[in-house]
Amino acid sequence: MSTWAIETEGLTKDYAAGFWRKKRRRALDALTIQVQSGEVFGFLGPNGAGKTTTLKLLLGLIYPTSGAARILGRSISDVAMHRSVGYLPEQPYFYDYLTARELLDYFARFFGYTAAERRERVGRFLGMVGLEAAGDVQLRKFSKGMLQRVGMAQAILHDPEVVILDEPMSGLDPLGRREVRDIILDLKRQGRTILFSTHILSDAEMLCDRVGVLVGGKLQGVGAPEELVSIAVQGMEVLFDMPAGRALPPALGAAAVQTGSRLRLHVPEAELYATLELLRGSQARIISVTQVKATLEDFFFRLVGNQKTAGHAVEVPGK
């Protein structure tokens, strides 16, 4: 019995392309990942990298060309498994003739809740996403950000074990993004497994236990954000003041950058103490010494930069 909440094995998706639809365009290439129960896993990648394709494959909205995937040990073709899965589509759009309350009530009916349970749940989740005051407004009058919140509510309405979110922060203002982040962290505290795609790297760094980077339909790397960025060269940043009338040591002069009234030096870790000695000798006042870590963003852009085909799925020979 598998212990993974989500696992894929060589998951591949080709789309027909061209006027005669004889060419094949590979949107996802042999994706193999495992997401542990209770883990927050983030999919990173530029547009067209295969993130949404992966999530739609997991939900059975599209079918794989080859490979397999399981959620909670059950095949993705098993619709009954959806009882334990919540999904927020990218840029969600719902029946605009319904109010937010009616939409959530409609979705809740598929899980067999009684009328009283539905009423309680719908009210609770509308409150959770900050829409209690707009619950009786038709969705056609909702802004993009409000629709995103309704989408979030419908995804977690039935207390799913696995929550799959496609760009959950998209279209939200800073306050909304923070609220969604809090909801994701709350779900994590409750032991739910969360798989989400994003192009907002700071969100991934803040929320994810592990991230997977997809470029051109291929998985380029998987690991904890700090593991991935540790590949990058580390450095030290020294912030200091020079007393009036004192000059910088000639060895450092070219490297120092003026920032306001202060000077900033970026040096390799191995040269830190030698640099500090030089600065002390010049009677510089050290303000701070900070370790410079490569961010996930650096790692991401390095990967994308390495692949000039990035962002474009590859064409494969026709069948």
């Binding site: 599209i62 959806h82 009916r109 995804a155």
Partner: protein
């Protein structure tokens, strides 16, 4: 409540909120005008005029609704991507399709029932009484509903793989061909070509025979409609619908939702 019923009721709610049933106002105005005018312009055939006009209006209105709502039933959900959130719930694709079909059928049934009440009211206004033969009017209405169910099924099938414009053309094309399928067969038999005869005969059997459902003339004249025809039409519609809905389910279940 079953998942099919949940989808069906929401489809009905959508039709009501989209003011689809507003056509009833026009039907009411038509029936009131006809009831007032018929006594002045026709002597002795008031009943025939009212029944013919009413049943034709019910049939045409239902047909327009079945085709134009039916062709966008699935397409609209895919185009607007409202389907994504729904299919991520424990709902099978065939359940979604069956629900959409049942929802539109419910809308058509409510619309037809209300129109029939209007027709009976107009008939009562003109003739001041209802005769036992007027029960045939209900059989004619039932046949109209069977016909609408079949048209809805066809529209739904095309909606699974085609745009609304093409689906409308396909559905109306099959409807018209099905209305004249007996003439098509007769024209094939009257020629000298064996191949043409075989082709028109095959079309006759494959196309839905919509002329079977026309009982407006009989109802207008108060003629009895044989009970065997009621059974035959019911069995024919159910069988044909099963085939259409299975085909629609097969097409829809195998396609990617982009």
């Amino acid at each position: 409540m079953t998942r099919v019923a949940i989808v069906a009721l929401n489809t009905f709610r959508e039709a009501v909120r989209d003011r689809v049933l507003y056509n009833l106002i026009f039907f009411a105005l038509l029936m009131i005008s006809a009831a007032v005018l018929v006594g002045e312009i026709s002597i002795g055939i008031e009943r025939l005029v009212i029944v013919n006009l009413g049943l034709t209006a019910i049939s045409v209105t239902g047909l327009v609704m079945a085709v134009f709502i039916g062709v966008s039933l699935v397409y609209k959900e895919m185009d607007k991507r409202t389907l994504y959130a729904l299919l991520s719930k424990p709902v099978r694709r065939w359940e979604f399709l069956a629900g959409k079909f049942a929802g539109l059928l419910l809308t058509l049934a409510v619309n037809t029932a209300l129109m029939t009440l209007g027709l009976i009211a107009a008939l009562l206004y003109v003739t001041h009484t209802l005769a036992p033969a007027d029960a045939n009017l209900l059989v004619a209405v039932y046949f109209i509903l069977l016909q609408l169910a079949l048209v809805t099924g066809l529209a739904l099938l095309f909606s699974c793989f085609s745009t609304p414009m093409l689906s409308t053309l396909f559905t109306l094309g099959i409807y018209l061909a099905g209305l004249f399928s007996a003439d098509l067969r007769a024209s094939g038999m009257s020629g000298n070509s064996r191949a043409l005869e075989l082709m028109t005969r095959a079309l006759y059997y494959v196309l839905p025979n919509f002329s079977n459902y026309n009982a407006i003339h009989a109802a207008g004249h108060g003629r009895a409609i044989p009970f065997t025809l009621v059974w035959a039409n019911t069995a024919y519609t159910v069988s044909y619908l099963l085939v259409i809905l299975l085909a629609a389910s097969a097409v829809f279940s195998s396609r990617d939702l982009k």
